[in-house]
């Protein structure tokens, strides 16, 4: 089961679980707690709330009992107590209430959940190396440009805080130091941000997003490893002429971050019609079939329409003609990419470097993209829908 933002908000706003202690203004203390070792009891510390799993791990530890034990104890007992009062309809009190996906579907979901209040930042200027230099009293060196992270926006796009904050709600660099530390399992900050196969890293999570049907047409066929200069700049976008311009004070850094986010205008992406040919005749090889009239502009328009639905898509395709690279791969971003036949040979030949021939390249891209983006017609095996059979 998933205790998502919607469920969290329903618990936050429920009158029935308001703690009796008068100094607590909200529901947080009903569940969130810290362990006071001296007093040997749990106490609520405002501003220290975190996920249960941060302390209650999968199995019992010296510090805390397993998350299974405590959720069954705390959640279930609270639900049963409220049920006994018969004041309101309570949460599940039977196994399948939490453990069956069928039952979970019947749980009410609130779409517009107000932001969780835990004094988290709206925007973060990520420049750990430079801040370390400043803290050490040195002049910061201008390395890679700092990243502005829109924390507030990511809060809305993610289901829970744990999507990124997997072990605590501290900032990433607290455990993932630049050189690696035991606290962060010796995963350096660079790895924590860029690990491709890890859904908690920036790059890893964004790579997951490319699997959405609207993105998969192009991105499934691309090598996911590729990170070029252009890609770095998409996030490392704070261009400073030199390191002296880097704001040393944290409030100035926040200001810089806010102004950078405010400057992020993401209008729908559109290309000049004259750059996009309407039809392209694919007629360089005709053996069993006639030439195919490829509806080039229709394809581009469809891709743009589906791209513009997605904020992340718009953000990462703001470079002119970057979307064209879905098909015109390995080409610079230009309105006049080289023809496919330049690299993909017409003659059938032995495989030597894995590069497909022209026939394989065309069919691979067209059919592959249709397949991934859920375009069912024409069917992959309906040859004559794209090119007429030679009579």
């Amino acid at each position: 089961m998933a205790f998502d933002k919607s469920l969290h908000y329903r618990h936050v706003s429920a009158e029935a679980i308001r703690p009796i202690e008068k100094d607590q203004k909200d529901n947080c203390g009903a569940c969130h707690h810290e362990y006071d070792k001296k007093a040997r009891k749990t106490v609520y510390v405002p501003g220290k709330e975190g996920a249960c799993q941060y302390c209650h791990l999968k199995t019992d530890t010296k510090e805390a009992r397993s998350v299974q034990t405590v959720t069954h104890e705390s959640c279930l007992n609270c639900h049963l107590a409220i049920k006994a009062k018969k004041v309101i309809k309570t949460g599940p009190t039977v196994c399948e209430g939490c453990h069956s996906s069928e039952f979970q579907k019947s749980i009410k979901v609130i779409d517009s959940v107000p932001r969780i209040q835990r004094k988290q930042p709206d925007a973060v200027l990520m420049a750990t190396a430079m801040n370390q230099a400043i803290a050490a009293g040195k002049e910061p060196l201008m390395g890679i440009s700092p990243v502005v992270f829109d924390h507030k926006m990511h809060e809305t796009s993610e289901k829970t805080c744990q999507s990124c904050h997997h072990a605590s709600l501290e900032k990433c660099s607290a455990c993932h130091t630049t050189t690696g530390d035991k606290k962060g399992d010796f995963i350096t900050l660079e790895k924590a941000m860029h690990a491709l196969r890890d859904t908690q890293s920036c790059v890893g999570c964004h790579a997951q997003a490319q699997k959405k049907q609207d993105c998969a047409g192009c991105h499934t066929q691309m090598t996911s490893k590729k990170m070029d200069q252009q890609a770095c700049k998409s996030c490392h976008s704070i261009e400073l002429a030199d390191a002296k311009r880097f704001p040393a004070k944290s409030e100035d850094q926040v200001k810089l971050a806010h102004s950078a986010i405010a400057g992020r205008k993401m209008p729908p992406i559109a290309y000049d019609k004259k750059d996009i040919p309407e039809k392209v005749a694919i007629d360089v090889m005709k053996k069993d079939y006639e030439a195919a009239a490829f509806p080039h502009r229709k394809v581009v328009d469809t891709l743009l329409a589906r791209l513009n639905k997605d904020t992340m898509g718009k953000y990462f395709h703001k470079d002119m003609y970057s979307m064209c690279q879905g098909c015109h791969h390995n080409s610079p971003m230009t309105a006049t990419p080289p023809k496919c036949v330049t690299c993909h040979s017409i003659a059938p030949q032995k495989a030597s470097n894995g590069r497909p021939g022209l026939k394989g390249a065309y069919h691979g891209q067209c059919i592959g993209c249709h397949d991934q983006m859920g375009i069912e017609k024409p069917a992959a095996t309906a040859c004559i829908e794209c090119h007429k059979k030679k009579s």
């Binding site: 030949q349 495989a351 030597s352 470097n353 894995g354 497909p356 394989g360 397949d371 095996t381």
Partner: protein, 370 residues
């Protein structure tokens, strides 16, 4: 009693073990490990790319000049059934539905052209031959039609012209040996619109396959089918669906058929040489045992008989003795009885006589009284 079944099997097992040890020692001594011809060509079938259009089947039919099938090749309804290779069908594409997914997975099936073919090793007239370019070709002029190749093939590929009464052949994919000799690509590879089939040097193909898996780890299973199966095959496969779910055997192991059978087969000469000796020996031993047992038995019977005789005599003697004793005792008893009776009688007579005398004595007295 001769030799038990258990004992016989025990001896036979011992012999086989000895032979096998001898054979493996021979291989190790030769340090022979065949890795295939260096320039072996092959085909990489990327199952993820296959759309099930059957163009490969059509091309195969055309280039091999096979009879046209009942249903045309653009009729995709034949995919509804699982098919296998036949005398006049060297390759088939099968369609698999995976779980609840909407999409189908298509897999082409044909001779895999093993690096060390099982069919060739099973054939005792050398009708099959692995060519340096990778093709496993068949020579019908020497074939005797035993069809051992069909049983040997782990992929169930070779087919037989059962309807050809006079000169039936075994048929299977040739990896387009004649076309390749002319510098052309195999028919199926050339026809594939998606390049789900690519022809090339086997070593290159493995590199290409590995690269595709590395580039798209979430789209492929990390396994190249045919790289090691049955000691490696010229046809290689990569897929996003587990091979066992798309009709490909995963239980074949990595040892080639000849390697598996060479041990036991190399024991054949030893067995053939030893068997007459061994069997004669076993026969002689069992015969001798029988004879000895027979003799022993006879002796035992005799001894037993003798012993019984003695006993009998003793018993008879005893019985006789007893009988004699009884007789004597009886006589004595009778005699005694008779004597006693006689004595009694005599006594009684004497008594009577005495009484009589007394009466007679009294009577004269009475008489006297009268």
């Amino acid at each position: 009693m001769g030799i038990s079944r258990r004992k016989f099997l025990g001896w036979f097992g011992g012999l086989s073990a000895t032979a096998a040890t001898a054979a493996s020692t021979a291989i190790a001594g030769g340090n022979h490990h065949f890795e295939g011809h260096p320039d072996t060509m092959g085909v990489l079938h990327d199952i993820n790319r296959c759309i099930g259009c059957r163009k490969c089947e059509e091309a195969c039919n055309t280039v091999n000049e096979l009879p046209k099938p009942e249903k045309p090749f653009d009729d995709l309804s034949v995919l509804d059934q699982k098919r296998r290779t036949h005398a006049d069908v060297y390759t088939v594409v099968n369609q698999f539905k995976i779980g609840n997914e909407k999409k189908h997975v298509h897999v082409k099936k044909q001779c895999n052209h093993c690096m060390e073919p099982a069919c060739a090793s099973a054939c005792f007239v050398k009708a099959f031959k692995k060519m340096p370019n990778g093709s496993v070709v068949y020579d019908e002029s020497v074939c005797v039609g035993c069809r051992y190749c069909m049983i040997a093939c782990p992929f169930n590929i070779p087919a037989y012209e059962y309807d050809n009464a006079f000169s039936p052949k075994v048929t299977k994919c040739t990896l387009c040996y004649p076309r390749v000799q002319k510098g052309l690509l195999p028919g199926c590879v050339e026809a594939c619109p998606k390049e789900a089939l690519i022809y090339g040097n086997r070593k290159e193909l493995i590199k290409i396959a590995r690269e595709r898996i590395n580039k798209h780890p979430d789209q492929y299973i990390d396994h190249i089918y045919g790289e090691h199966e049955m000691g490696g095959t010229s046809w290689l496969y990569i897929s996003g669906t587990p091979f066992s779910e798309i009709g490909m055997r995963e239980d074949l192991g990595v040892t080639s058929a000849p390697e598996l059978t060479s041990g036991p087969l190399s024991a054949v000469p030893i067995v053939v040489g030893l068997w007459p000796v061994l069997l004669t020996g076993i026969y002689a031993i069992s015969k001798r045992k029988d004879k000895v047992a027979e003799e022993e038995k006879a002796e035992a019977v005799k001894a037993a008989e003798n012993a019984a005789d003695e006993e009998m005599k003793k018993q008879i003697a005893k019985i006789k003795q007893d009988a004699a004793k009884d007789k004597e005792a009886a006589i004595k008893r009778e005699v005694k009885n008779a004597l006693d009776e006689a004595a009694k009688e005599a006594e009684e007579k004497a008594k009577a006589a005495a009484e009589l005398t007394e009466t007679a004595d009294a009577a004269p007295e009475k008489k006297e009284d009268e």
